[in-house]
């Protein structure tokens, strides 16, 4: 699974196991790009959960996957800081450093960039951007010097975010960026895998996903 799912997955697995106590789910996080490269070489994974549709679609185009990629949720992004209270896209230019995850490789970074452009502030803040490897690294950056950053909303609900102490966040209007479609690709024909795949797309899973800040409207 892609890294942003780290927090929600345990709960989904828990719920899944309530229903199917005998199926053990191992879940591995890594970057989508790495996982894609590995799945191409027949990595022994059953289900691939990606932070966007691009990677599952790429794989599917290579003839991998049982069904076409499905969208199980949509990610949201928000402004985040531990220093500054009144967060808004407009205020961004008053800060000296803004951390986002890499637009090239992460969907959340890409969405962040889109919203800057849409808000018309990109030229002013261009030189203040710091690019993190993953959304989790954005938090490290904010903790260690960056004034503000953009992260996935789901992170706010992770239990570990409390490690950062006091923090402030502000949603970014979803109209500012293209939806971050979280795609899932079923890789193996194993029965257990299929069950989990179906569970993930079920209402129960969606409820949990919603609790963790994902947008689950219009499938």
């Amino acid at each position: 699974a892609s890294a942003n799912l780290t927090y929600v997955m345990p709960e989904i697995i828990k719920a899944f196991n309530e229903k199917y106590p005998n199926i053990k789910v191992n879940f591995i996080t890594s970057s989508s790009g790495k996982l894609t490269a590995q799945i191409l070489r027949e990595a022994p994974y059953d289900i691939f959960l990606s932070a966007n549709l691009k990677y599952p679609e790429f794989l599917y185009s290579k003839g991998i996957g049982v069904f076409p990629p499905a969208i199980y949720a949509k990610g949201k992004i928000c402004l985040f800081s531990i220093k500054h209270k009144n967060l808004s896209l407009k205020n961004l230019k008053t800060y000296s450093s803004i951390a986002i995850s890499k637009p090239k490789t992460t969907p959340y970074g890409k969405a962040a960039l889109e919203s800057f452009k849409k808000a018309g502030i990109y030229p002013q803040i261009k030189d203040k951007l710091i690019y993190a490897e993953t959304v989790a690294a954005v938090l490290s950056y904010i903790k260690n010097g960056a004034d503000v950053g953009i992260i996935s909303k789901s992170l706010i609900y992770s239990k570990n975010i409390k490690n950062l102490g006091k923090f402030y966040y502000k949603d970014i209007n979803t109209s500012f960026y293209h939806p971050i479609n979280q795609g899932v690709l079923l890789l193996s024909k194993k029965n257990e895998a299929k069950k989990f795949y179906n569970f993930l797309l079920s209402q129960k899973a969606k409820k949990i996903l919603k609790k963790y800040g994902y947008d689950i409207k219009n499938k």
Binding site: A3, T6, Y7, N26, I28, T29, S30, K34, A37, Q38, R41, E42, A43, P44, Y45, T134, A136, A137, L139, S140, L155, S158, N160, I161, N163, L164
Partner: protein
């Protein structure tokens, strides 16, 4: 609860890789140190190159070359029925390739500064090449050998880019400690990351300290200071 499997995997990997590279590295470094051939600088450069690539990128290429569809991976798969990707043997192969220069270079430099006449003296004592190697040459390049072993060992423990790519962090099989710690940091679980890092550091500290301490005592004995 702390799961020690990743540490055991890490140690196992590091020990195996160090031993394999010692076995390959000694003759190869010897060849490099003693050849006068024109291709020597070429070979030396090639030897150093794996380190120049970012580990994940190297890992990516290794993934391509070691997968059962590829030529090399295919040979292994067909002949020994060993899959070199997403398996522990794969980690061993990949780590060995990445850590190769760390083993070769110090040993080669040790060989190059060895006083050749003790080798001759050993031959003239009627001893063959193997005895000479183990009883005379290696003991007398100990500082270099130690450097090679320590760097290779530590580096294999700490490496995770290649390992993650080729191994795929499968718990109990390819999820080594470095990968586990990385995951904790990614998950913002700093508490576990600290604990795991501390354990990794302590284990490594103990291993290295014992090695250095024994070496220190021996050097005193030989009065090499």
């Amino acid at each position: 609860m702390i799961d020690f499997t990743p540490f055991i995997l890490s140690l196992k990997l590091a020990v195996i890789v160090t031993i394999i590279l010692l076995i390959i590295g000694i003759p190869y470094a010897w060849y490099l140190s003693s050849t006068k051939s024109k291709i020597k600088p070429f070979l030396e450069t090639i030897t150093a190159l794996p380190i120049v690539l970012p580990p994940s990128v190297l890992g990516f290429y290794l993934l391509v070359f070691l997968s059962p569809d590829s030529f090399i991976g295919g040979i292994f798969y067909k002949l020994f029925n060993i899959k070199l990707v997403f398996s522990f043997p794969g980690l061993v192969v990949a780590s060995s390739i990445y850590s190769f220069p760390f083993m070769i270079q110090p040993i080669q430099s040790g060989f190059e500064s060895l006083n050749k006449n003790i080798i001759e003296a050993s031959f003239l004592s009627g001893k063959g090449k193997l005895t000479t190697l183990f009883k005379v040459i290696l003991p007398n390049i100990k500082p270099a050998l130690l450097t090679a072993i320590v760097i290779t060992f530590a580096h294999t423990i700490g490496e995770f880019g290649v390992v993650l790519m080729v191994g795929g962090s499968i718990p109990g099989k390819t999820e080594v400690a470095s990968v586990a710690i990385y995951d904790y940091v990614e998950n913002l679980d700093y508490h576990s990351a600290h604990i795991y890092s501390a354990i990794l550091l302590i284990i490594s500290f103990l291993v290295l300290f014992i090695v250095y301490f024994i070496n220190h005592r021996q050097r005193r004995k030989y009065d090499i200071y």
